[in-house]
């Protein structure tokens, strides 16, 4: 019996996940709406002075995007677990880390990418200084895939639990802290006119490492949770 090549399996998985997202395209906008709401709360809480908001704008946008990503993580394996296709993925003869990498990629493209696109608007709402914007976008481009990859490992550990929301936050947030520190570090350095390359390079290095290790870890974690 032939199973086809791993590349065709990946392609089939990508097409399937994209079409699933497309058929529920209303849901795909929820993370962006959530991020807008969170950002909107800050001017209400802190007052509308442009100087105050500009000072905290980059950090606020980063945290809002991080939280939106955290809330959307739960959906990564949820429907697949419910309809049984997750077990089929684990049982398939193709390398599980590769298949999971495809799933994480689709998840990043459909939840994190809209957030990145919305980020300049969110920054504008908080009077983000213009020269900080490119640095923030670069930091987001490097940090959101990292967050998705780290998050996927933790989701794989909590998969199958009925009320995993709070627990997932408890597992994921400590691991998100370093990512946030470096992303915010780059933005703060840009705001003060300091060199920004070092924190961005750290993020890039971490992303390169996570791209290789996280799918493997995710596969191992999934095997533990489904055993």
């Amino acid at each position: 019996m032939s199973y086809g090549s791993s590349a065709s399996a990946c392609r089939a998985l990508l097409v399937r996940d994209f079409s699933l997202v497309w058929r529920r395209r209303g849901d795909a906008l929820n993370p962006v709406l959530f991020a807008v709401m969170v950002v909107m709360l800050f001017p209400f809480a802190l007052g509308p002075e442009a100087a105050v908001l500009a000072r905290i704008s980059a950090g606020t946008v980063l945290v809002a995007l991080l939280l939106a990503g955290l809330l959307s993580l739960d959906a990564l394996f949820r429907s697949d677990l419910e309809d049984g296709s997750l077990e089929q993925l684990v049982l398939s003869p193709h390398p599980l880390p590769l298949l999971l990498a495809c799933k994480i990629l689709v998840h990043w493209l459909t939840t994190a990418l809209p957030l990145i696109v919305a980020a300049p608007v969110l920054g504008e709402l908080l009077y983000l200084p213009r020269d900080v914007l490119p640095v923030m976008m670069a930091a987001l481009a490097l940090s959101t895939p990292l967050l998705s990859l780290i998050g996927a490992v933790c989701v794989a550990l909590t998969v199958g639990m009925r009320r995993s929301g709070m627990l997932l936050a408890l597992l994921v947030l400590p691991l998100y802290v370093p990512v946030l520190i470096f992303a915010a570090g780059a933005c703060n350095a840009a705001q003060q006119g300091l060199p920004v390359l070092a924190p961005l390079l750290w993020l890039g290095a971490a992303l390169a490492l996570a791209l290789v290790l996280a799918p493997l870890a995710c596969a191992a974690a999934l095997r533990i949770s489904l055993s």
Partner: protein, 251 residues
């Protein structure tokens, strides 16, 4: 078979470990208690006062050993978690999970004593210094491991999942350790050095080392006590656990 290897294999068997731990426990608790009393007496009474901080520095006799233990126990937990995941040794799963609450307690003590010392010395309970932040993250990692362990119904699957999380979290350990070197912030660098001369007077140093040893013994005693109970619970259906329970009823 080589006797050492044979002993190691025997150690992995729950009934053997249960009996061995039971024999060791009174000694460990006793030695830990003596060590703690001696270390605290040496630190709080015998050691001379600091020229700058006078008596306030004495909190290091609790703070520093707790901080060392917070990292040592995490490494211990992760190492046992690795063994549990790779070789599926039941005892390692139990030891890793029994170590987590003890480590969390030491981390909390370390943070609390640091705060109490920081208020008069730094003028603040808390500062977002690299060492403090990474130690706080360590506490959250412990809590995550404990939370995950208790959220999963099946005990063995729960300990494997939590052990895996502990392994991922180990990236934080070098950050905690080197944070005072990498970032020059408020928390002072290390004074006691494994390699090279320590920057602390001998009269102040010995109680600290006694406390470090005593907290290790306290950890071992606490760990074995917890692991014995966990093993009994895990093996509740087995013959040896029944015999232990019956023997406990008779006395």
């Amino acid at each position: 078979m080589n006797p050492l290897l044979l002993w190691f294999h025997k150690l992995g068997s729950p009934p053997y470990f249960y009996r061995l731990a039971g024999r060791l426990l009174p000694w460990l608790w006793g030695l830990a208690l003596i060590g703690l009393v001696a270390g605290l007496y040496g630190g709080l009474v015998l050691a001379p006062a600091d020229y700058q901080q006078s008596d306030a520095f004495r909190i290091i006799y609790v703070h520093v050993p707790s901080a060392w233990m917070s990292m040592f126990i995490y490494a211990f937990m992760a190492a046992n978690g690795f063994v549990a995941l790779v070789w599926r040794i039941k005892l390692s799963e139990t030891l890793a999970m029994a170590a987590a609450p003890i480590g969390a307690a030491f981390t909390a003590i370390c943070l609390a004593t640091g705060s109490i010392w920081g208020k008069p010395m730094w003028g603040t309970w808390w500062t977002w210094d690299a060492r403090l932040t990474s130690e706080l993250v360590l506490l959250f990692l412990y809590l995550g491991v404990i939370g995950l362990y208790h959220a999963i119904e099946d005990r063995r699957q729960a300990s494997r999942a939590a052990a895996f999380l502990a392994l991922i979290g180990i990236v934080n350990l070098p950050i905690v350790h080197f944070s005072v070197k990498w970032w020059n912030t408020l928390h002072q660098g290390s004074t006691v050095k494994l390699f090279g001369p320590s920057l602390i007077d001998g009269r102040m140093l010995w109680p600290l080392l006694v406390m470090a040893l005593a907290t290790k013994l306290l950890f071992a005693a606490s760990l074995l006590s917890r692991a014995r109970v966990d093993l009994l619970e895990l093996e509740a259906g087995k013959e040896w656990a029944r015999q232990v329970a019956l023997a406990g009823e008779r006395t």
